[in-house]
Amino acid sequence: MKVEFKARRLDLLRMHLDVIREAFKQAVAPDRVTVEYPRERKKYPANFRGIIVFDKDKCISCFRCAHICPANAIQMTFYEKAWPGIDYTKCIFCHFCVDSCPTGALRSTKIHDIAFATMGEMKLNAVQMLKAPELTREDSFTVEYVVDPQGWRLEKKAEIDELALEQFIIPEKRRVSVCVDPESCLGCRLCVELCPNDAISVDRKANKLNILPEKCTGCGICVRNCPMKVLELKEVK
């Protein structure tokens, strides 16, 4: 009984020493892998899916972002043209809208940590989306995980990462709406009504429909809504 007790005390002493040694080691040369947010911030890749900003000059009001949104978070509102607004209570950050935008009017930032005071505030309109939301930066380090043959560790640099992303350059592919099957046209003129740029006109006297290629932005609204599917987007040089 006495012998057993002695052995146990020795074990306890050894364990205490282990803990003290680990504490000294971490104080001198730490090897933790957690990020000390907000003092530190992870370096995000260039294709990070964060809060979305909107460029009104590039938008052609094609509604593609609103159509593709699987969470139904995008509402088009009419300003100078119909512009998108994102409801962040619904947004799932899939960025289908960013990918579907034919002109690059929507683009991502690396910002994800925004606090909203109310649910109502989370519904952003197009004007609020023109600039990236303002952040109070508390971080002074950028950290990055490094994976190499020895294992993985956290690399820490005393610099601040830029959260705004560079604009993606979308190759200029100009497409315009063209009637490929005029003999199947119903003559319903829905395309004329729907065109946001008045590029399709109708001559009621001569019964002629006309697409002005210089006004057509290639948004495809007429193509999607034609009841006989006689319109198509064709690339022009």
Partner: protein
Amino acid sequence: MQEWQIVLPEKKHKKKFFGNLLEEVIKPAICSHCTACAAICPVKGITAGDRPIDFPNWLKDCVDCGACVKVCPRWDYRPLGGVGSYIEMFSARSKRFLGQDGAMVTEFTATALEEGIVERAIFVARDEEWRTRTVSIIDPEQLKNRKITGTKYSFADVLPAVKEAVLDSKAVAFVGTPCMISALRKMQRSFRKFERVKLAIGLFCTENFYHSQLSEFLAKKGVAMKDVLKTDIKKGKFIVKKADGEITFPVKELDGIIPPGCKVCQDFSAVEADVSVGSVGSEAGFSTVLVRSDIAKRIADAIRARGYAEFRDASLEAVKKLCDYKVKIHPYPPKKEG
């Protein structure tokens, strides 16, 4: 093409085009309920279903494009009649399928699908209450379903389904009454895209019914629609087959619920179809087939070559008799009563 011409039909009344259709076809009660207008309407405002054709709020919603007038078989109505031209005529019974008589409509569709002549076919299926709905057939196996084959004596929105099919496939077949076939031909003449309908199977037809009126009529006879296994018209008799026996009565009793549009129709044998099929002119269990176009001839030859059906001779006299009878009982313009 960046500039193109649209063709507008001539108006007979100073109204929007649907107003013209209303005055010329729907109000005079010569509308055949073929649903071509409901199919073509670009704003989907024209309603069909189990009620007479209507366009609620047409004064506001009609875009005045004239498409409904262009496709209406009863606009400038000139009744068609007779047996029409045909390449060959025979009586046959499918060895593979069960249908109304010889299941030749089903056999033609299945062979057309197998031969790759059409990509899909629009058929009319029914539910327990014999309400109709359209189905798209892409595999002949689907035709083994007895709710899809066989005649339903009720209107169905076939042409709207045909239009949807035409928009996304290149070769379509469908089964319809003579008025639907005539409407389809008008659609093909006005809008080129409908040339994708490669096979139009016409049915021998004297009249069709609104489902609600037919079920009400049969209820008075003590027949609940959900007990009905098969309906048929043979030799002037309407036959209702149930699990526990048969009820027959003269078709004349149905006179009160025959839609007025059918009473001005003289086309019994679907003269504009690619192939017309019906029971008149054949023995029990066989269908009379009138092959009218080259494409239908190709299918008929394939059926014969593969031995999919049993062939016999059909009686032209019997078909002619019914064709003449329909012209006689459905005069146009209709006789004034009294």
